[in-house]
């Protein structure tokens, strides 16, 4: 079934058992991102130690794609240098824009390769990107603050 390309097991697992969900009380930057076409919302808290991500926590409501994507992203970015995080982010955005023809680098994206199928569904790309754009925004704000 073509739908299985979209709803990989790892996505549904993260949706049912999200990681790093529940907002930490202290953070360097807090951002709130909304997908206005569907109403999905997430709040993301980010803490940096120097140029390294030391904590990410988040809360939100939305579809399995948007929520699983934040969950996987938050685990992936934890303890990464910001430069490395940027490389991962760029790779993920490129994958989303690949219209189904991308060959994702699993060594970079790890579990996030599960979203490769999303690029075949134009209406869902924004869902998958919601958390990643929130991370990008938060990292810029946290750097400014520090």
């Amino acid at each position: 079934m073509q739908l299985d390309n979209l709803y990989q097991e790892v996505i549904l697992d993260h949706y049912k058992h999200p990681e790093n969900k529940g907002l930490a009380t202290s953070y360097d930057a807090q951002v709130h991102h909304i997908n206005p076409s569907c109403g999905d919302e997430i709040t993301l808290n980010l803490t940096l130690q120097g140029q390294k991500v030391s904590a990410i926590s988040w809360d939100g409501v939305g579809c399995s794609i948007s929520q699983a994507s934040v969950s996987i992203m938050s685990s992936l970015m934890m303890n990464k240098e910001l430069s490395e995080a940027q490389t991962i982010l760029d790779e993920f955005v490129a994958l989303m824009q690949s219209k189904g023809s991308g060959s994702p680098d699993e060594s970079v994206l790890e579990d996030a390769v599960a979203f490769a199928g999303v690029s075949q569904y134009p209406a869902r790309i924004k869902c998958a990107l919601l958390g990643w754009m929130a991370f990008k925004d938060a990292s810029v704000q946290a750097q400014k603050k520090n």
Partner: protein
């Protein structure tokens, strides 16, 4: 009384195609836009192929024919609504119709009946589509008027309990929907219109979801202005209608300025043509207007009463079937005498986007999200819903397909 849906479907070429690898198209998204019968497509093609010229301009035969077809379409829309021909304004969308009104109020001379300021209030409802909320919200901001609104009861009806504190001697505008695009609720506006007129307010009705589905006669309704879109009533995109009571329409200042809406122009001043022309600046969307008239005639050939009865029967069946699925919660009235064929629901932990995606894989088109009525979905405490909306080309087999696919989706997502 029932419609011959098999015959009707033959008039809509889109039903000859298949969806997602050969599946039958089950189209349950007419609340967003309706499909088009061949007669509408043909009317547009015929206009471009044989009669294309700028209406109301030019001294040649094509211009004459284009003008005649455009104005005959106005008569069709007028008779459909029980209105006078000169009370029909063609716009590019219902959204434009409502914005036209809001900006026309802004353009009113101080002291005129449309002038609005901080001493006034505007009343809307919490179940408005963004298109009948934001123009008024922003007019309130521009003018200093107070924005007030009717709430919604827990079963999705308009809460009129505080009407006396909402509609007062300060009220200038009451802008309200006749049928909710999320809840399906049909609002009986008699009491609100009567109360509004008693205090001298102007009543504007968003009829986008009602006019395609139930008989609407503007004389009986008693409102002052009414807006609807062409593409939801079998017509093309790019055409909307604004109806206004003539004496009001003729006194209302224009919103868009330009060609063909004038009486006289000098370098420093201009005067306006009479309504409706003063609201139709620029070469209009002629082919779309002609297409809309063809769509309305097609609908009239079926009969609006029959359309309404058909949708009522389908809605009853849909609600009945939905209620038998554990975990389904319908948002909106369950009494079919209070509602139309737009049914929104939630399904336990399966997010509407995921359900919508699954339904799509089965060839079923529904709408998911907040349906451009975000304040409403927030008030109802459901960030998003799945919406199935019915029309003349739907029958019980479409509902059976939806119900079967919802049950399959529950298994797929492990509920």
């Amino acid at each position: 009384m029932s419609l011959d849906v098999a015959r009707i479907r033959k008039d809509f070429p889109i039903f000859t195609r298949t969806i997602r690898d050969g599946k039958k198209l089950v189209y349950l998204d007419s609340g967003a836009t309706s499909q088009k019968p061949q007669v509408v497509i043909d009317a547009e093609v015929d206009f471009y192929a044989k009669h294309n010229a700028a209406a109301h301009r030019g001294a040649h035969q094509l211009a004459e024919e284009a003008t005649e077809m455009f104005e005959a379409s106005r008569e069709t829309v007028a008779s459909f609504l029980g209105a006078k021909t000169e009370e029909i304004v063609f716009t590019k969308s219902a959204t434009e119709s409502l914005n036209l009104l809001a900006y026309a109020f802004s353009n009113a001379e101080p002291g005129s009946q449309f002038a609005i300021g901080s001493e006034h209030s505007i009343v809307v409802s919490e179940m408005e589509h963004h298109a009948n909320l934001i123009p008024w919200q922003q007019l309130a901001k521009r003018s200093g008027a107070e924005l007030k609104w009717f709430g919604v009861t827990s079963d999705g009806r308009l809460d009129e309990s505080n009407i006396d504190s909402l509609i007062t001697s300060k009220t200038k505008i009451v802008a309200i929907t006749q049928q909710s695009n999320v809840l399906g609720t049909i609002n009986n506006l008699d009491h609100i219109i009567e109360k509004a007129h008693k205090v001298g307010a102007i009543v504007i009705v968003d009829a986008c979801q009602s006019v395609p589905h139930i008989p609407v006669d503007v004389t009986n309704l008693g409102a002052d202005f009414l807006a609807f879109s062409g593409h939801k009533i079998l017509g093309p995109t790019g055409v909307g209608v604004l109806w206004g009571r003539y004496e009001l329409l003729n006194n209302l200042p224009p919103f868009l300025f330009g060609g063909s809406m004038i009486e006289n122009v000098t370098m420093t001043d201009a005067t306006w043509a009479e309504a409706p022309r003063k609201f139709e600046a620029g070469v209009p969307n002629m082919a779309q207007v002609v297409g809309l008239a063809a769509g309305i005639k097609y609908l009239q050939s079926i009969g609006l009463e029959k359309v309404h009865e058909h949708e009522k029967a389908l809605t009853r069946y849909l609600l009945n079937e939905l209620n038998q699925i554990p975990g389904i919660a319908v948002v909106g009235p369950t009494d079919v005498s209070l509602r139309g064929g737009t049914v929104s629901f939630t399904l336990e932990a399966i997010h509407p986007h995921d359900l919508g995606q699954y339904l799509d894989s089965a060839g079923i088109a529904v709408r998911t999200g907040h349906h451009c009525a975000w304040p409403l979905t927030r008030a109802l405490g459901v960030p998003a819903t799945t919406r199935a909306s019915l029309y003349v080309y739907n029958d019980n087999s479409d509902i059976d397909a939806l119900i079967a696919a919802i049950k399959d989706a529950k298994k797929y997502f492990g509920q």
